[in-house]
């Protein structure tokens, strides 16, 4: 009986303590942030969205290779000799036209792994977090700033130059091959001549040696 009363007393006491805490919070301050009116201040290094400073990109493909989910797509075309693409702000020379630099943010898992290998620090996370879309394809961001016509032109140019280079290389190879052939022939000739001479001289040497 006494036990039962004690138990109920403890129950009531713990309930009242709990109610005391909740009523204190009732009159306390709330922690809610009224979202569209007030916005949370994200730290500078918040990882919310990938951004590429395309002017600094040298098309090295390191980020795409570092991505665990393969959400970065890069196509490059080597620049032709008549165009100087300039240098990045970090001083690396640019050697490629970036015909395509797409990031599928629907696939991205914000792991930050692509940021670190970049030699020119041109790919990084920004703290912009409101970019929902109604259509999934809108989440594929195109960073390349080349016009389609330009892309075609560049591609053609590059192809031409590549063909030219190939041709040159082939010519060189041919020349080299010819030269080598000539040399071989000459060498053969010389060797034959030598041989002819040697045939006569050798025995005399031997003879000398023997004697």
């Amino acid at each position: 009986m006494v036990e039962a009363f004690k138990n109920s007393w403890i129950t009531f006491k713990s309930i009242f303590i709990g109610m005391g805490i909740t009523i204190r919070h009732f009159f306390g301050k709330s922690v809610t942030l009224q979202y569209p009116d007030e916005r949370p201040v994200l730290p500078n290094n918040a990882r919310a969205k990938l951004y590429v400073n395309i002017d600094d990109c040298i098309g090295c493909n390191l980020c795409a290779r570092a991505c665990p989910v393969n959400c970065i797509y890069i196509d490059t075309v080597p620049s032709t000799s008549d165009v100087d693409l300039g240098k990045t702000s970090t001083g690396n020379p640019k050697r490629f036209w970036l015909t395509r630099f797409d990031i599928d943010m629907a696939k991205c898992m914000y792991c930050d792994l692509c940021v670190h290998p970049c030699p020119t620090n041109c790919i990084y996370m920004v703290s912009e977090y409101e970019y929902s879309e109604f259509n999934r394809t809108n989440l594929i961001y195109h960073f390349s700033n080349l016009e389609p016509a330009m892309v075609a032109e560049v591609k053609e140019k590059a192809a031409n130059e590549a063909a030219e280079k190939q041709r040159q290389r082939e010519e060189m190879m041919r020349k080299k091959a010819e030269e080598a052939k000539m040399k071989q022939i000459e060498a053969k000739k010389q060797a034959e001549e030598k041989n002819d001479g040697e045939k006569g001289s050798e025995p005399s040497k031997k003879e000398n040696g023997d004697s």
Partner: protein
Amino acid sequence: MIEAITDSGERREMTINMGPQHPSTHGVLRLELVLDGEVVKHVKPHIGYLHRCFEKYAEQMDDYAKVIPYTDRMDYVSAMNQEHGYVLAVERMLELEVPERVEYIRVIMAELQRIASHLLGIGAFGLDLGAFTPFLYLFIEREKILDIFEKASGARLLYNYMAVAGLMRDVHPEFKDEVADFVKTFRPKIKELDDLLSYNKIFVRRTANIGVLPVKVALNYAASGPVLRGSGFKWDLRKNDPYSIYDRFDFDIPVGSGEMGSLGDCWDRYIVRVKEMEQSLRIIEQALDGMPDEGDVMAAIPKRIRPKEGELYVRTESPRGELGYYIVSDKSASPFRVKARAPSFVHLSMLPAISKGALIADIVAIVGSIDIVLGEVDR
């Protein structure tokens, strides 16, 4: 079902599916309950609804570092601890030494994460028993930890902060002050939690003597972490098999005492978590004192991580228990096999053993008290 009640005389059992969409299964877990009235005769957990082939993905990555973001997603409530275990395993494989400062930051992060994870676990446990308010009070505190993480790593939940041989980036300059501040403001909140929930008589009556797990059964099931400690077994990998720099810190291992009911019941498992948060605070304080202010956060390693051929099993104490990584390397750049031994997986497998004869409400309490995260169970 209609036969079950129109049938007069004989008792008939009712099979009921709890989950995969149920408010208190902590994710997509399905429990097949065989009921006699409200008494549970058998429980059969069905898992796999959240299976994302972590191990297969790990094998297909061409870099050991690329696995780290996936480890985050295993136990998404304690991502830092998951990373910690994995990078430790790879570092041991490579026989690497990491800078002092890195070790300290890792420990602080891991302990903060442990607190954050316990806050969620405790809160959700209260929520399962119908106490909504403590859950949100604890979330306020958890947010503060996440703010610190966000400033350091840039992300709030899946950090990818620890890298093999170091950290992805250095902590922000005011990191130490913020953590110290958090430790100071958090201590009184534990007292408030005790008053509001832990020693509330209704809560105690709901949890004491429920889901009793004897030590012998716990060891046979390889239970670990708070579940094992709740059964009164003093076992903590941070003390018993020290990794990182845990041997430098002075802290206690709280164990269940059967204070409110029998040893190893839900309340014991719960209170172990509450007490563990205090111990984590102690570790954080000591680590803050010992942490060097300056220093590199990355050891020199080759660009491509290629461990020698071999294998090892490394275990760490995650908030839920022993988190093991079994890594097999075949000398190539991608791991031959990564197996994660998830504590929740093991703990969930003992659910049938400890919940015989319980009521439906007790099943909810037991599942809450072993604090499973389905992302880790299914991987």
